[in-house]
Symmetry: D2
Subunit: 383 residues, 4 copies
């Protein structure tokens, strides 16, 4: 088992999920790698405590030093979005593998440079779209590949939260930089819809056309850095109609103003043979409507057809055989563990990993075009 | 289409459900009969208004006069339990068909006399166990008969309500005679568990042994007739373990003190091939776990097995083809319509109807033995 | 109680729901009227059987004769959409009250003429948007009026079905005229989205802007009248983004190709104080998120806040006190009973009934503009 | 932060959950301890691989050597039930802290000796009833303590699984010793009902009386050690009625033959002020019926009362503030992490931890009496 020497840049919430994943992968998966946490970098006052908690051997306050270290194989980027571009390019140039949180970056110009850099350097790279690795979502992918859904008619997605409704929520700083467009690039589009779009194109193929609408409900917020009320320029909410290349279509909706919804990341795909529905707030369940079996062509008898709640905790389900016993659930953090295991296995076996920067650039493109459509109030072709 | 001339005795809540059912049957079912509401009898002040609302041609205040009328074919008994015995016997002796609300009567002694009377007279008779006719419950019966459940291991039932928790609820009178044991015979055992037992034996065969526990939570209540606080002598709650003749077993639980449960009449049957779960608060759903198909012997693939929520509103589902279109629900009152349609069709075609008085006597026996077990704190054999 | 003499034109599925509602209203509501079914008109072979089943005193095959009869007070129109216009105008001119199924008509030109006719004649009129009268939907309206939702941010609606997926489903004729644009006017927009739009504007106020997309998945179908394959010209599916006058926005989605969805008519409204979600496949439930009480301004404590499944079967709930007892459900047909009771009460008391033709014309306008937006691929202002 | 040097005895499924918990506690909780995995013991061929995976510094094949080591502070016992007694006593005599998997042991005689040993030695000790530490279950405890449930009427519990239905499932060996009564002591009673009883008495106080029924559905199974068909002597299923000291009562049901139920560990407590329902298959949800607030005495208005699905993922919820962000779930393994954190914090702060061996002995007693009641077919008093 090879050591994989990790340098993490960033120590926020995502830093914790990544640190945990590095440590947990070898407990559940045989990837050929044993991650070793060499160094962690941030300007946060509690950096040493963070390093102690997760077992980083050293700390840095300048990310360029981490990138420059010879004893590091992989740079793990969990800083705000506006910093992704520079770090990825520097890491690639230093010949490091790269794991980068989503959204990939601020815009397509950045994305193109990043892809060019990692491809030129030939370094393994991933953008962390962890929700592909929810076992129920991976199972949806499997059902689609087994032709259990068949010709698709509709794909609808929602990603709703409710944590910015109060006008008293400030913006900026370590906690709420996602409300500051200069740091985040966009609002729900990059933060939430990027997930929805990544899943949609993974499950249902390319989106061909979009028409979008965004909204800012709270026009001004206190900026924690300036100490002043400033204009809000991110998209608080975004909805769009998407037509897929395969002829199906549907709606996407995302907001941080959906009172009652904490992490309501859902999708429904309706096809000729069947349908699936998923909701991240019930992550161990996949709803499946089994209308016709693709192998036999037989319809489920009319009197017993119905939506099945598949409790995705059997050994036969994606990833679940690596954990506990049938009937026991895993949680949010395991989507990162599963994802990192996929990445490390791919690296170990010399296979391409998806989504890499190139594939993530496509999601960046769709996000950019969604925002462009909202600005111009026009349909935009993506193909 | 023959006229079926009805005399109803009683004008409470159950009187309304029966009146409605008589009027609605011909709109949805071809039974060969057209019910005509000839007369209704009660001592209630609003009797004339009741008769006008439902279209009864005449009113009576002495039930013996209704039974004696030549122009009446069927006596419909919807009075409190302590009056069932006398009216059924008189009706039978007068050669009338009899529909009697459940529970059948006060005890086995009464039940035996009633069965003897209707059988001697040879009159068609039913006891109104309407929940057999919830489409989802009838579908459960069908799945069992199709061997989709297979060898049964467990049958568990609950019938919980919460309307008598307050000590301020009085007992007696037209509204709350169910709390007065002299009128009701028993508490939840006759009122609620009679339904659960009827369904259990219909779906899973005879109960062989029981061991029970009852409780009275509120020891005294104001009696609306005496105007005084009186000792409560009905069972507020009752639970029992039941072993079925087929070797399966489970628990039954019923109460009027289950805060949050309005009409929580549920059962679950787990067998070798599959399982079903039903809850009357979601009456249009049957939960079905399809483990193995009995015809082919094939197991559902491990990765797609799960509880199915069958929305029992397809034309192929019991009774539903007689109503509206797939996807539209029917309600509580339709269990009576379906039940009366079954009875009238059976009468019209000269078939036996179940549950008749003889079959209902069995349920009365189980109820009596449950209460006896609770009194003696012993297991009782029922076979 | 006055007699209300009804002439029904049309004997399809909707004819049955209306006939039932006329007969059932007086059993559950005091409206001042007793409907009497005087005459029913259609070209259907089973007309006499239909009349016998529901108790119509006479039959007609020319609707003009029904409209002309002196002994009829109200014309009930349950024929395909392309006939509404002529009958409504004739009925209004004859001074009859009018009940008309939705969608109101084929297009705005028709709608304007119809409104002019009924207003000129001064006759009471309604368009049958029955889903307002689902008790859970009426409860949602009540919660909004009680300010339990507060400032609205999002309103999203879905109305999905799956009955036309097979290419073998023909179009035209008595059963499937909804697939023939010459008779239906439009596809899901008039059939399903008209309901969603009516509810949306009732609950959340006027829609200010829309941008829509429609699709035809099966391009040709056998026409049962011509016996030939013909081009399908209705909208099989339609999605649109809607911005409301109050600043909230969301998506609408409707299709007959959503495998697994039978009658999936849902809406969710998220506001500052709370949120509601409804699904017609679970019609007795309203999901309510109670974030802040408007009277006291108090937030639900963070550790006990959650979506409540209100089982809308208490006496305190809209319409439910008129039926059975708490915990017992009503069904689809009761939405018509409740609606007719509202209409008859309004007529009896000299109050305006909503939605009347004028209000329904607004829904027609929104539908027309949705289809126009889909055709032109542009945003359209509705205000 | 003190090192806590751990010696683990046993390397099965439970060994993995404990190893993971030791490693994960310091990542999420400040307990004052940092567990160090010093040694692991088993006869399993893959022992070294297990040690490598989890980072144990050494391996042993004789548990007495682990107990004897001076460099170990805590003995973690995750072997089959028949070995608990000897190891606990030896560990206590060696002055080690003890963590022991449940059920505690084979019978009360063993339990008394174990309690005597740990109490004489004065060593910190726990029996691992991890389900108390599901956040939703801990929240239920909190709601009870806040008087949000009030006077209890009913407590009902179920713990159903379905993995031994096939007659081809063998018994014995490392995987299926739970089917061999010589090793397991009992069947579902010790394996599953011990959890239900522990939760019940924690949440609702002492059980005063029981009456039970057990069953063996498959009479003979292949024993993997003898290679022969042998008589099955464990309880495949067990149900009992329980009367609590506080006057409430209900039923308990457990089986490994409930087709469709994987880990269906549920309880419902109905009280005067409210009710809670929990199902381990949806571990992040607590269903709460908020009838009356204990502080104000105010009832929830009748039209908005309903079961709330509390998504137990807010920072305000038990344990959740230690993990990720609101809306993100944790899984099965976290119940062990939370539990070990509670234990280590108690040890660190010199507080008693519950459930310790003495409290677990009570659960052993209830289990023994349940089995005795099933054998004798009599009610048994437990107080």
């Amino acid at each position: 088992m090879k050591e994989l020497r990790v340098g993490q840049i960033g120590t926020g919430f995502m830093g914790r999920t990544h640190s945990n994943a590095f440590l947990q992968v070898p407990h559940f998966f045989k990837t050929g790698f044993k991650p070793v946490l060499k160094s962690v970098c941030s300007l946060d006052k509690s950096l040493q405590e963070y390093a102690d908690t997760w077992g980083y051997e050293s700390i840095e306050t300048d990310w360029r030093k981490v990138v420059a270290r010879d004893d590091i194989d992989l740079i793990d980027i969990v800083v705000p979005n506006n910093l992704h571009h520079d770090i990825v390019i520097a890491a690639a140039e230093a010949g490091k593998m790269v794991i980068c949180e989503k959204p990939m970056c601020m815009n397509m110009a950045e994305a193109e440079a990043m892809v060019a850099a990692v491809e030129k350097a030939g370094v393994a790279n991933m953008v962390s779209f962890n929700y592909r690795r929810v076992p129920a979502v991976s199972l949806a992918k499997q059902l689609i590949e087994e032709n259990r859904i068949g010709r698709p008619f509709h794909y609808n997605a929602v990603y709703n939260q409710d944590y910015t409704i109060s006008t008293n929520v400030p913006m900026g700083g370590a906690a709420l930089w996602r409300l500051d467009s200069k740091v985040a690039g966009s609002g729900v589009t990059g933060d939430l819809l990027a997930h929805s779009i990544d899943l949609a194109e993974w499950l249902n193929g390319p989106i061909a056309r979009v028409c979008a609408k965004t909204e800012i409900f709270v026009k001004e917020r206190l900026h924690v850095e300036s100490g002043k009320m400033e204009k809000v320029t991110i998209d608080d909410a975004c909805a769009f109609i998407a037509v897929f290349e395969n002829g199906s279509f549907g709606t996407f909706h995302s907001t941080r103003y959906a009172r009652g919804r904490k992490n309501h990341n859902t999708f429904e795909l309706n096809g000729e043979n069947g349908a699936v529905f998923f909701d991240l707030e019930c992550p161990h369940s996949l709803q499946f409507f089994r209308y016709r079996d693709p192998e036999t062509g037989e319809k489920t008898p009319d009197h017993i057809v119905g939506w099945q709640n598949i409790h995705v905790t059997n050994s036969e389900h994606p990833y679940m055989g690596n954990y506990w016993v049938p009937g026991t659930t895993i949680g949010y953090e395991h989507t990162f563990i599963n994802n990192f295991a996929e990445f490390l296995s791919a690296v170990n076996e010399g296979r391409d990993y998806k989504p890499d920067m190139r594939q993530a650039m496509r999601t960046q493109f769709v996000c950019d075009m969604v925002l462009e459509s909202a600005r111009t109030e026009k349909w935009i072709d993506l193909l």
